[in-house]
């Protein structure tokens, strides 16, 4: 196939994934990415038309991996709605431990790409919508106005940023136990 173990494209995405997430999208230059990937600059511009396109690919890839993680971990969860909601907290806790030492990549990207027209912003927003909708569906039976679903979502988001900023010891656990209470008082089975 190719001269190298993994293709240049793949190595570029790996490098971008690490650097953009760890140091920030704007702070990381093209040169840093290609150096880390061990790839020539022309190879980057053969696969991606611009840095922005690489940024978009980075975010898309990260979303894909997060959803895969989610599907893998949550597949077969067939308990009560309440159990399945709490499982979301557990799944996200594991993801955060493993991949989110610096907080949610989408929230960070949203903060960095202040330009509302940047396609990366749309990806970030879509990911949040997806999570929110997922929670809403799980509790839909006991949540006519959708309020509870939103509140559970708020707890997750709060835990994500709080974990990043280290304001609270074990933010995800605290969020989870708050979710338990909300589910309980809302009489979600």
């Amino acid at each position: 196939m190719s001269t190298t173990r993994t293709s240049a494209r793949e190595r570029l995405l790996d490098a971008a994934g690490e650097l953009f997430y760890r140091d920030g999208i704007r702070a990381v230059g093209i040169d840093a990415v290609i150096a880390r990937a061990g790839v020539a600059k022309m190879s980057l511009y053969k696969h991606f038309r611009s840095k922005d396109e690489l940024v978009v690919a980075y975010l898309e890839r990260r979303e894909q991996r997060w959803r895969e993680h989610f599907e893998t971990q949550a597949r077969g969860m067939t308990g009560t709605p309440a159990e399945r909601v709490l499982a979301v907290f557990d799944v996200l806790a594991r993801w955060t431990e493993r991949e989110n030492p610096r907080g949610c990549a989408f929230i960070n990207a949203y903060a960095e790409l202040a330009d509302a027209d940047h396609p990366g912003v749309a990806i970030a927003r879509a990911d949040k919508q997806w999570l929110r909708d997922h929670l809403a569906e799980l509790v839909a039976g006991s949540d006519p106005d959708g309020l509870l679903g939103s509140q559970l979502f708020l707890l997750l988001e709060g835990a994500l940023v709080t974990t990043a900023m280290d304001s609270v010891e074990d933010a995800m656990a605290a969020a989870r136990s708050a979710a338990e209470r909300l589910l309980d008082t809302a009489r979600v089975a």
Copy 2:
């Protein structure tokens, strides 16, 4: 005093406050700040040794204004602990409406200034600590392990980012009603 209505320093801080918040710290150059302030470049470097120092001043000033807002609005709140906690949600809701269309400046700065050693990061972290501690104190009587205080804090943080990303209709109201439930089940007066 001076030849201009407001001093160059003041106008620089105003301009930096608007631009850094709206467009992002890294995306805004010195030239944009001085143009907006209507000030010569040398005036900037007479008042601030570097851009980083201006960034720090921007964050310090924003924190100061937020605390003033908070003190003004929360002073005289002498109700039950629960009422005073809910008042925090109201105060933050008004602040967010007025000054936070693009989310919390400290969370955004934290995301942008990925370098943990940047002094701006310490300011952002301190602000969060302060809010968390404030909530913890309010409910201390009914919250031996501090869990409830953390959970209330998580709801506020979640509402802040969710408002920014527009994932939920009225995030702060949803957070507030979740807080009510938590306070209720924890039997906080």
